[in-house]
C-alpha cells in the first residue's frame, strides 16, 4: 500500500507528439482514482508511465516517496490489469497467477498459499487447472484480477478492464472490483471512458482533456460544480445543456423574447448550463420557457425529451422521471430553477 505522487509528469513521444504536457496528481494511500476522458486524451499514456511501460519525459513519479522514473516495471511493485487481460495463453490459471511470485523467488508453499487465497476470494478455485481459452470473458477478467492481487502490490493499475464484457457482467464486475479494492486497501489508478464506471468507482475523478487535467475531485463535486464546460459536458448522461446567452439588467436572455430572472452580478455574454434532469416540466403559467418537442426516448424509468426553444437552433434535452411521452411538435413547458444553473465564461470556458 502506498502513496503515489506525480509531480509535473509529462510525456512527449519519440515522434515529437506531446501526449501529456504536465500533470500533478497526489494519490493518497488506499485511494481509488479514476482517470476519464475522451479517446486519445492520454489516459493510457499516463497509466503506462506509472507502470514503467512508457518512459517519463519530464517531471517526477514517486511511489512511497521513492523516485520511480528510472525504475523497471518489476521494481515498482505495481500490478496492472490490461483491457485484453493479457493472460499467458499457454499457462494454466494457477501458473498465470503464480508467474509473478515465481519470478520473485517465492517458495513453493508461499505460492500455493497465496494463489489459493486469491483464487478463493475471486471464486476461481475450481478453475485453477484450466487454460485461459477455456474460460468465459468474465472468468478471464477475474484471473487477470487474481494475477494482480496475488502479489499484494503497492498499487493496482487498470486500463479499461471491463470494456470487453457485456453490459450486465460489467456492472457485476464493477461492484466486485470496488469491494475487493476496499477489502485490500490497495491504492488504485483506474482508466475508463465509461462515465458510470467512473462515477461509481472513484474516490476521486481526474478528467483529462488533451493531456491536461481539467478537474480533479470527488464524483459529486464534479457533477455539482464542474470547473469547465468540458467537464460539464463529460460528466453526466445525457450531457448538460450548454447555451451561449447574454445576461442583461432584464435577466438572462435565452432568446429575444424570453428572459429568465437572474440574481447575478454577471453581465454580458456567458455560457449557460443546466442538466437535463434539472429542467422540470410544469404548467404554462409556471413556465420559464417552452420547448417544441422533436424526439422522445422513453426508457421506462425515465424519458428523454429533445426539442428546440423558439428562435434557437440548439437541441435541448430534458430528463423526466417515469414514462412521460409528450407528442412530437407539442410545446413542453419547463422550469429552470436558478440554483441549478451553471455559468461559464464564454472565452475561457471556466466556471464563473
Amino acid at each position: 500500500m502506498a502513496e503515489v505522487i506525480l509531480n509535473q509528469v509529462g510525456k512527449t513521444y519519440p515522434n515529437g507528439y506531446q501526449a501529456i504536457p504536465a500533470i500533478d496528481l497526489h494519490i493518497a494511500d488506499g485511494e481509488f482514482i479514476v482517470l476519464v476522458g475522451p479517446s486519445g486524451c492520454g489516459k493510457s499514456t499516463l497509466l503506462r508511465m506509472v507502470a514503467g511501460l512508457e518512459s517519463i519525459s519530464s517531471g517526477e513519479l514517486l511511489i512511497n516517496n521513492q523516485r520511480m522514473n528510472e525504475k523497471e516495471p518489476a521494481e515498482r511493485d505495481i500490478a496492472m490489469v490490461f483491457q485484453n487481460y493479457a493472460l499467458y495463453p499457454h499457462m494454466t490459471v494457477f501458473d498465470n497467477m503464480a508467474y509473478g511470485l515465481r519470478n520473485r523467488g517465492a517458495s513453493k508453499d508461499e505460492i500455493q498459499r497465496k494463489v489459493s487465497d486469491s483464487a478463493r476470494l475471486l471464486g476461481l478455485t475450481d478453475l485453477l487447472e484450466r487454460k485461459p481459452k477455456q474460460l468465459s470473458g468474465g472468468q478471464r477478467q477475474r484471473v487477470a484480477m487474481g494475477r494482480a492481487m496475488v502479489r499484494h502490490p503497492q498499487a493496482f493499475l487498470f486500463d479499461e478492464p471491463l470494456s470487453n464484457l457485456d453490459a450486465k457482467l460489467r456492472v457485476q464486475m464493477r461492484v466486485e472490483i470496488r469491494q475487493l479494492q476496499r477489502q485490500l486497501g490497495t491504492t488504485t489508478l483506474y482508466v475508463t471512458h465509461d462515465q458510470v464506471e467512473a462515477m461509481t468507482l472513484a474516490d476521486r475523478l481526474v478528467v483529462l482533456n488533451k493531456g491536461h487535467a481539467e478537474q480533479i475531485g470527488s464524483p459529486l463535486e464534479l457533477y455539482e460544480r464542474p470547473a469547465t464546460t468540458f467537464v460539464a459536458e463529460f460528466i453526466g448522461s445525457p450531457s448538460m445543456n450548454l447555451l451561449p446567452v447574454s445576461i442583461t439588467d432584464q435577466g438572462l436572455q435565452l432568446t429575444e423574447q424570453v428572459s429568465l430572472q437572474a440574481d447575478t452580478k454577471e453581465r454580458g455574454a456567458v455560457i449557460w448550463g443546466i442538466r437535463p434532469e434539472h429542467l422540470q416540466p410544469c404548467s404554462e403559467s409556471e413556465a420559464d420557457f417552452a420547448l417544441q418537442v422533436k424526439a422522445v426516448e422513453a426508457l421506462g424509468a425515465e424519458s428523454l425529451i429533445y426539442g428546440h426553444t423558439a428562435g434557437r437552433s440548439e437541441l435541448l434535452v430534458v430528463r423526466a422521471p417515469g414514462p412521460f411521452t409528450p407528442a412530437i411538435d407539442q410545446m413542453l413547458y419547463l422550469r429552470a430553477p436558478q440554483q441549478q444553473w451553471h455559468l461559464f465564461d464564454i472565452n475561457t470556458q471556466q466556471r464563473i
Partner: protein, 291 residues
C-alpha cells in the same frame, strides 16, 4: 458456391497442360523407379531381369547405406537446428526495430530467391581452399581449410550453404509469429518481474512453438530432399562418403555407379519417407495452434 461449366471437355482441357507435366515429369519416372526397384540390369544396360526384393535386401545389408542415413540425419537436423536458431535470433532483433523493418525483411528474403545450385556455387567460391576469401581468412586465423580433404569441413560447408538459403523462409515465419504475440503479454510479464531473457523463454518461445514445430518439419523435408543442388555444387558428396546424403546417393549410385536397381530401390524408400513426412506436416497444420 460451385462453378459449373457448360460442356464437359472444357475443364479437362484447361487442366491438361498441368496433368501432362505431372504425368511426364513425375508419375511416369516415379512408376519407372518403382518398377526398376524390382529388376536388376546387367553391366551394359542391355537386359534386365526380375529379382523381387533383392535390391532392397542388398540395401538393408549395406553398411554404406546406413552410413548415408546417418549422414542425412546429421545433416538435416544440423540444417534445421542452425537455420531455425539463427532465423529466430534475426526475427527477434528485427521485431525490436520499428523503423527500417521493411529493409531488413527485404534483404533477408533475398537468399530465398537464389536457386540452390547457385547458392552452392556461391559458397563453393567463398570457401575454395586456395582462392576463396573465407578459406584464406580462415587460414590466416590458423585453421587449415580444405573441404576436399576434410570430411568434417565438407559437412560444415554444406550445412552452411543449405542453411543460408532456408534462413529467409524461417525468418519470415518467426517474424510473423512474433508480431502476432500481443505486446501486452510481454508487458504483463515485465510487470510480473521477468527479465528480458526469462520473458523470452517463458512467454515468447512457448507461444512460438507451433511455428517452430512447423518450421522443423519443413526444414527437415527441405534438407532431406531439396539440397541435391547444393551438395552437387559444393562437395559432390565427398570427400569419401562424408556428405553423401540419401538423395545424393540415389543419383550417385544410379548415374555414376550405374546400379539402377539399387538406385531405384533407394528412390522408393525416399518416396515413402516423403509420404510419412507429408502426413505429419498436414496433420499438424490441421491441428494448428495447441496451447
Amino acid at each position: 458456391m460451385t462453378v459449373t461449366f457448360p460442356q464437359r471437355p472444357l475443364p479437362w482441357l484447361l487442366l491438361l497442360p498441368q496433368l501432362l507435366v505431372t504425368a511426364i515429369f513425375f508419375l511416369w519416372p516415379a512408376g519407372q523407379a518403382v518398377k526398376q526397384a524390382f529388376y536388376q540390369e546387367d553391366a551394359f544396360g542391355l537386359s534386365s531381369e526380375f529379382v523381387g526384393l533383392e535390391n532392397f535386401s542388398h540395401l538393408l545389408h549395406d553398411p554404406l547405406y546406413y552410413a548415408s542415413i546417418g549422414t542425412t540425419l546429421f545433416f538435416s537436423f544440423a540444417v534445421a537446428f542452425v537455420g531455425i536458431a539463427l532465423a529466430l535470433l534475426l526475427a527477434v532483433m528485427a521485431d525490436r526495430v520499428m523503423r527500417g523493418q521493411i529493409i531488413y525483411k527485404t534483404l533477408l528474403i533475398w537468399p530465398y530467391a537464389v536457386a540452390p545450385a547457385l547458392a552452392g556455387v556461391l559458397w563453393w567460391v567463398m570457401f575454395d581452399p586456395s582462392t576463396g576469401p573465407i578459406a584464406v581468412w580462415l587460414k590466416s586465423m590458423g585453421i587449415n581449410w580444405n573441404h576436399f580433404l576434410n570430411g568434417n569441413q565438407a559437412m560444415t560447408l554444406v550445412v552452411i550453404a543449405a542453411t543460408w538459403k532456408q534462413i529467409s523462409y524461417n525468418f519470415l515465419f518467426f517474424l510473423a509469429g512474433l508480431q502476432a504475440i500481443p505486446r501486452s503479454l510481454i508487458e504483463a510479464a515485465a510487470i510480473d518481474g521477468a527479465s528480458p531473457f526469462k520473458r523470452f523463454w517463458t512467454v515468447v518461445f512457448p507461444l512460438l512453438s507451433p511455428t517452430t514445430f512447423f518450421l522443423l518439419v519443413v526444414n527437415l523435408v527441405y534438407a532431406f530432399f531439396d539440397t541435391f543442388g547444393i551438395i552437387d555444387a559444393t562437395t559432390s558428396g565427398g570427400p569419401g562418403q562424408s556428405t553423401k546424403i540419401l538423395v545424393y546417393k540415389v543419383y550417385d549410385d544410379g548415374f555414376i555407379g550405374l546400379d539402377l536397381g539399387s538406385s531405384s530401390a533407394q528412390s522408393v524408400i525416399l518416396m515413402m519417407i516423403v509420404g510419412v513426412m507429408t502426413v505429419i506436416q498436414f496433420r499438424y497444420i490441421e491441428r494448428k495452434v495447441q496451447y
